[in-house]
């Protein structure tokens, strides 16, 4: 088990390097640079020498692979570097203050998605073909199909503009959480509900469930004691993988609701070629997804004793 974890972590380190390398290369290859954008729309013109001086100040006059190696060296020694766009603000501080609102938002959305979807999907499977089942499936299908940004904008139009109940953007006060959480959790909720219903149906067809029933166990005992635990297995895998998707959905949702989190910061930094910040967020998200995956595997083993991770 321990050697398995170590091996996975080492693989993870390699993955992090590959991804940071490509993220850096892609952004370098994109047209434009932060200096152009600093000039913005304002009344600022720059001579070639001035431009060169500023590029030099930020080490951007060197070949990109050199810049990457410098970044890597600093990163390994724990230094995330400085933001160019914010002229020297430490990236670690920026990331930290953005990570908290993102974590709050995502945790709430995630927990809500789980709390609602698992019982809803289970019940739909048990009451297969009932009116309840149909209703859940219609809602869930719509939830999977609707794009996050559409749901977000429509919910703003409805709840903010038409009804005037909730603020259209911002992050202060509990009311500000409702729409972003709704937009962020809807996809997950729908997906998990469908998954839960599907696996539950599969499990209910299994021989051991039939055996349990023929033993004369109550329906409650059959479902809680035998079916649910098995039906949850694939859901756990999905939960781990989806954690990463949730964060990426957060980029869209945060941007629409002006949520001051990692997603907004990431988009803003990509738009403005703030290399150091983009790199740091890429690393952070990659590590997050990797850890979520490893944790999922471990959890899997705990729940299902048949799975051994030693090999």
């Amino acid at each position: 088990m321990v050697s398995y974890i170590i091996r996975r972590l080492l693989q993870g380190v390699v993955v992090v390097f590959i991804i940071t390398f490509f993220a850096f290369a892609i952004l370098q290859a994109a047209p434009g640079d932060p200096i152009d954008l600093m000039l913005g729309e304002g009344n600022v013109q720059m001579s070639a020498e001035q431009r060169a001086a500023i590029l030099h100040k930020w080490g951007m006059d060197r070949p990109w692979y050199e810049q990457y190696l410098t970044w890597l060296k600093n990163f390994v020694s724990g230094d995330l570097g400085e933001s160019i766009v914010r002229r020297g603000s430490p990236v670690s501080g920026m990331i930290f203050s953005a990570a908290i609102p993102t974590l709050k938002l995502n945790l709430i959305a995630y927990v809500i998605a789980i709390i609602i979807s698992i019982p809803a999907g289970m019940l739909a499977a048990i009451k297969r073909y009932s009116a309840y089942d149909s209703a859940v499936m219609v809602v869930a299908s719509a939830g999977v199909a609707l794009p996050v940004f559409w749901v977000a904008l429509m919910s703003i139009i409805f709840f903010s503009l038409k009804l005037g109940w909730l603020p259209p953007f911002g992050s202060s006060g509990w009311k500000a959480y409702i729409l972003p959480v709704l937009a962020l959790s809807l996809n997950e909720l729908a997906l998990l509900t469908r998954m839960m219903r599907g696996t539950m149906l599969e499990v209910l067809e299994q021989d051991y469930v039939k055996t349990a029933r023929s033993k004369g166990l109550s329906e409650y005992a059959v479902i809680v004691g035998h079916a649910v635990r098995n039906a949850l297995l694939p859901i756990i895998t999905i939960l781990g993988v989806r954690a990463g998707f949730l964060i990426s959905g957060s980029v869209v949702v945060e941007s629409i609701f002006a949520w001051p989190g990692l997603g907004s910061l990431f988009l803003d930094s990509v738009n403005r070629f703030d290399f150091q910040v983009v790199q740091a967020i890429v690393v952070l998200l990659t590590v997050f997804v990797l850890l979520a995956n490893i944790l999922t595997d471990l959890l899997y083993a705990v729940i299902d004793p048949r799975i051994r991770l030693n090999k």
Binding site: G40, R87, V251
Partner: protein, 576 residues
Amino acid sequence: MGAALPLAGSVLSACGGDDDDDTPAATATTADAAEPTTDSSAGEATEEPAAEATEEPSSEATEPAAATESTGGTGEGNQGGMLIVMGHEGVDGLSPDYIGPTVNWACITQIHNALTEMDPWFEYQPTLAESYEISDDGTVYTFKLRPDVPFHDGEIFSAEDVQYTFAYYADPENAMTTGSRFVGIASVDAPDDLTVVVNLDAPNAAFLTKAGSSFIVPKHIHEPIGDAEYSTNPVGTGPFKLKSYDPASYVELEAFDDHFRGRPLLDGYRLNTVPEPSVRAIALETGEADSSVWSLNTDDNIRLRDSGDFYVSITSSTACNNFQINTTSDQFKDKVVRQAMMFALDRDTIVNDIWRGLAVKATTNLSPAVAYYHDDTDVMKYDYDPDKANQMLDEAGWTIGSDGIREKDGVKLQWQCGMISGDQARRPIVEAFQQWVTQIGCKFDIVESTAMTEDVRSNKLQMGMHNWTWGGSGGDPDATSVMHSDWSGVSLGTHYSNPEMDQLLEDGLAEPDPEKRKVIYKRVQEIFCEDVPILFVQYWDWFVFFTTRVKGLPEEPLLSGSQIYNTAWKMWIEEA
């Protein structure tokens, strides 16, 4: 194991990255590299041209023409309330070095003052200076400073602060982005606390637009900490001082009681970062915010304009929407060909049908909003006329070959036209033009490029669609950085060269007298229209909205929409 790397959804790229260089306030020759904006798409024609900067004041501003006064603008109106404006991207810093992006500027201008400041009509008003004189030869500017102007910390502003500010931002060691504003200053003298004498190397008519209107920082605070730290904790002389600030999401300012023009009526000024343009529109409708510093979507602009629920200002951008041309390419080195292209370009259709009337046809290199704009009596007009274009090409010896494409000396009138990758907003213009040139025996392919200007410069592309300022930035007609032959192959890729133009541009910068400059820049516009270094299409409209609870807004039509935020100290809130 494959890790799911969450990358930014392309969904938002169209709304998030609208860093187009099309603000009216002070548009620089910035690279048009960012994502094309959704703030500008196509559709039906609805509106009259904004040549006269039409405005529908639905508010009852009761402070007539106070905007042109430089003192005591806070005589009437309610005290209290907070003005809430929105920007589309984070405010990275609040020192004067960050003024490039409009969202930053809209906060920095509340905190700081300059010697002279541009008002919404492109006029420079003495601000920290009480008055100024320009020597006859145009090389010495003498500013008489306003006495007893306190900084937010109570220290009194003096000539020393001006000297320090100019020196610091000009110093190449400090690598400031605004350094070029101070180029050409030989020395800054302070004979006494309230006099500043700026000696220039050579006459520079754009001096007031640049150094003269740069925000002044307090030496006693800025010097010990440097610009990076200062940018998070600025201390100016402006009507509002910093209360709290998060670069990613908001800037909150509060009234400065001892401001030299009197305490502002507003208690506070807040800018919220709201990247999504449609959410900004909704926030204006719900009253969550009072104004958006950065443009909304076209549909929302039209809807809000027509609702009658807002103070609306529509001004013309100073950046020209154009096809940049490599004028040294085989196809376009003869100006007759370039002129023929202008006759084949149906700009009225572009403005009215493709751009839904939310633009004004370009007739010279200057926007009609700029005072130096020459009212086209002597310039070439280029009304859409494909027959004339054909005739001109015939006469110039471009004959139609067997494949229907014109040809001369082995060169076919066929080329590559670039578009910034993903530029969906402007694509219909390029496609329409592609059709129109077939009527005059020409043909081009559309190539999406990620480095269009560079590709035109190197003749990989012979033409490219984008926006760029060809003079008129900050109201000043100077166009050296795009039309002077020393620059035309550097900043842009046109390689345009005309000795008379070079001379005029040099004369124009050296001439301090606005009347004499008018004559010079009239000639510049005539030559521009004659030489056609670019195919000039249109100047986009820029919309500024305020909710009607905001009072104290100028009644007369603006020339520069963004500059209205510089008058926040005169605004007040009146709840219905």
